[in-house]
Structures are given as structure tokens and as C-alpha cells.
């Protein structure tokens, strides 16, 4: 039986992890490769690297990070952040990443999804969606530029369009819940999950193991992503998986 996936997310800036793991015996907690290995031993099913570098040099450094990670890790990983062209995708995937994630660039030019999907196959292309509930619109709207700019897309319609263009997976972040640690946005996740036929990764709001159970079991989403609760050791991937197993969720 296909298992539900737990995915830690690492923010990488100029080749270094920001918000690195606290209180862990790592030689260098800012080294993305060291942290990737740590999460692998914890039982992480996949990893996401989000490149938040501001400079060209930082992006070049990310290619080295990808190469080193692929050389030492035997689990899949996705790279997002700053991927604007098919050439950007090629650079990251050829360095050994399994998938690339696009967000703002895909909203600015949706054909990017199709170009990537035609070239590498849908399974390589993740479309990340940042959504916030809008009272005015009565639904979740999509935002770009890390949540700064509101678009005219609803989360559900954009997810459907992304899949039509060739997205193989949707990484759905609730901006309302992000950082709140009060649980994933169950309604948003369900709405998007029911609207598309590709796997959906829920993101934003994880505070404890029960939150993972809720979104993976009740919503039946395919995967759940978290950053800070793993980095700050509020819980661990191993603890979350052990809890899920006890509750009858199929995990690796």
C-alpha cells in the first residue's frame, strides 16, 4: 500500500540553511547536506529545499548543494525558489534533484509548467501554491512573491489549471495557517485535493503529530510538509511517524 509522506522543508540562503536545527549534534547545522542526512536517518520520505538566495551567486551555490545532496542521499528531493526558465529546471535536475517546484514564475508565465512537463515528464514538476482565505471573495485566493501580491486566481482553479498544463504534484501552503502551529488548513486542503488527480502536499500550520494525522487521514491528502517544528525539535519525523502508525495511518 502506498504510504503517506512526511516532508521536512529546508530554507537555503546563499548555500546555507537558515533556521537550522537547534540542539542537534551536527558538525555544522547550517550545512544543507548535513541536515538532509539527519532528516534521512529520522525517516523523512522526501525533502524540499527552498532557495531563498537573493543573488545570482547564491543560486549557483544551490546547484552545488543539489549535487552534494544527490551524491550522498538515497531519498528523493525537490528544489524550489528562483526557477524561472526551462534552463533553470535543467540545471537543478541535472545536478541530481528529483523534482523542481515553481510558484510565482508559473503564475507569471503558466507555459513554464508545460515546458518543464513536456521535457522532463510531469513527475518532475511540482507547482507550489500559496493561498489565503479572502472574506471578500469567499474562497482561497492565490498569492505570488512569497505572499505579497494577490492574484485573480482561486486556489482550486489555479490547481486545476496547473495540472492541466502538466504539474505532477501540488504543494499547497495555507498562508492563514503558516507559522500558527494550530494545524493544517483542512478545508483548503480538501478543496484542492478533491479538485485534482495528482498528489497534494499539505503545508503550513503543523504544530504537533495530531495535525499530521488529521490532514493525512481525515482529508486523505498524500503528503504533509513542515519546517519549524522539525528544525526546533518540537517534534521529530520519527515521533510523528510513530504516532501516525499507532493511529492506523500507513507510513514507511
Amino acid at each position: 500500500m502506498l504510504t503517506k509522506r512526511i516532508i521536512p522543508c529546508l530554507d537555503v540562503k546563499e548555500g546555507r540553511v537558515v533556521k537550522g536545527i537547534q540542539f542537534v549534534e551536527l558538525r555544522d547545522a547550517g550545512d544543507p547536506v548535513e541536515l538532509a542526512k539527519f532528516y534521512d536517518t529520522q525517516g523523512a520520505d522526501e525533502l524540499v529545499f527552498l532557495d531563498i538566495s537573493a543573488s545570482h551567486e547564491g543560486r549557483e551555490t544551490m546547484v552545488d548543494v543539489v549535487r552534494q545532496t544527490a551524491a550522498s542521499l538515497a531519498i528523493p528531493f525537490t528544489v524550489g525558489g528562483g526557477i524561472r526558465t526551462l534552463d533553470d529546471m535543467k540545471r537543478i535536475l541535472r545536478a541530481g534533484a528529483d523534482k523542481v517546484s515553481v510558484n510565482t514564475s508559473a503564475l507569471e508565465r503558466p507555459e513554464l509548467i508545460k515546458e518543464g512537463s513536456d521535457y522532463f515528464g510531469a513527475q518532475c514538476i511540482v507547482v507550489a501554491i500559496d493561498a489565503r482565505y479572502s472574506e471578500e471573495d469567499g474562497t482561497w485566493m492565490v498569492y505570488t512573491h512569497g505572499g505579497r501580491n494577490k492574484t485573480t486566481w482561486t486556489a482550486v482553479e489555479w490547481a486545476k489549471e496547473a495540472v492541466r498544463l502538466g504539474a505532477g504534484e501540488i504543494l499547497l501552503t495555507s498562508m492563514n495557517q503558516d507559522g500558527e502551529k494550530s494545524g493544517f488548513d483542512v478545508k483548503l486542503t480538501k478543496a484542492v485535493r478533491d479538485a485534482v488527480t495528482v498528489p497534494v502536499i499539505a503545508s503550513g500550520g503543523a504544530g504537533n503529530a495530531e495535525h499530521f494525522r488529521e490532514v493525512l487521514q481525515d482529508v486523505d491528502t498524500d503528503a504533509a510538509l513542515a519546517a519549524s517544528i522539525f528544525h526546533y525539535k518540537e517534534t521529530s519525523v520519527a515521533e510523528v511517524k510513530s504516532y501516525l502508525r499507532d493511529k492506523g495511518v500507513c507510513v514507511r
Partner: protein, 208 residues
Amino acid sequence: MKIGVIDYGMGNLFSVEQALKRLGVEVLVTADQQQLAAADAVVLPGVGAFPDAMKRLEETKLVDFIYAQKEANKPLLGICLGMQLLFEHSVEVAPTKGLGIFTGTIERFNGVSRIPHMGWNDVALQNEPQWLQNATLPEARHVYFVHSFYATNIDEQQLVAYADYEGVRVPGIVSNGSFTGMQFHPEKSGELGVALLQSWLEGVKRTC
């Protein structure tokens, strides 16, 4: 021991190369037939679409090389699309003839809730090819799959291991003589993936 990874321009070869190197073998990534023929075994990787991949193999005359490899009873491991190419036929994009080394056709998943079949699924062993005999595998039975098409109408004798995806029986490992196919990515499948690659390499060692 030297392993040739067939480079025909389809997908990410770096992870496969690195996984093999970690197991202590010499790895050569090339499209050069002479160099591939000199290797103890070859790996046929691949991501992308079936018709593009067949076209590339034909254009580069690697089809002939693969048949010669079979004729000479030399080991080949096809991974993901590389395994699918070894079947008779695929419906991906447009109906396309495959290499026909394994019996069966490649069809799109039907009646499942999510496509691609993406993530960690457990595999059950059905037959033991030579390279798996006496192998010590870890208790973990999960491997990483990512694909929208799968092999069906297969020859049960060629099936080594399969996964269950919402009631669809998905061939995970197939074997026919010196040729092996893995639908999942052993290079991305943690401990079990490493153990399977290692067993396959030991099988190669015994034959060379």
C-alpha cells in the same frame, strides 16, 4: 568491476551514477557502444516519455547494442522508463513498439485516485532470480515509485516483485535471463534500494 550507464539523453543520470559509486564500482556514463560493451554490465536509466526514448535509442543505434547485450547473455538493469522500454509496447503519448525483451505492455493507470503513483510503496517478492538468491535484504519493504504508466499483461515467470496500488498490481522488479527491470528508483529508495542494487551488482560479479 565496471558498470556502464547508458547515456541517451533521457533524464537524470547523476543519482544512479552516484549510487553505484557508493557501492564501490567503477562507473562510466556514456553513449559509446564500444565502451559500454567493455563494461561488466550496463544500466539503462530514463525519465521522460516512451516514444522520445525509443527514438533516441534507435537514432543512436543503442537498440542494436541492447540486443547484442542480450544475445551475449550480459547483465542489463533497466530503471523506471528504462525498464518499460524493455517491454513489447507502450500506449504513452502514441502507441510505440518497445524492445520486447519482457512480455507485456505499458499502459496508463486507470481507476486509481492519484496519478502519478508517487511515493513509497511496499513490494512483495514473487520469484527469486539468481542475483537475489542468498541476498540479505533489510526488513524494510518500501521503495520509491514515481510513474504514470505501468507494465501489464506480463509473463508471471518474469515477475520478481510487485506493489499494490489501490488494487492495481504494479510490477516492481522483473527478470528475464541476464536482464532485470526495476520500475521504482533503487537509487532513491533508501536502505532497501541500496541492498537491491548491491545484490544485483553481486550477481553481476558472479557472472563475470
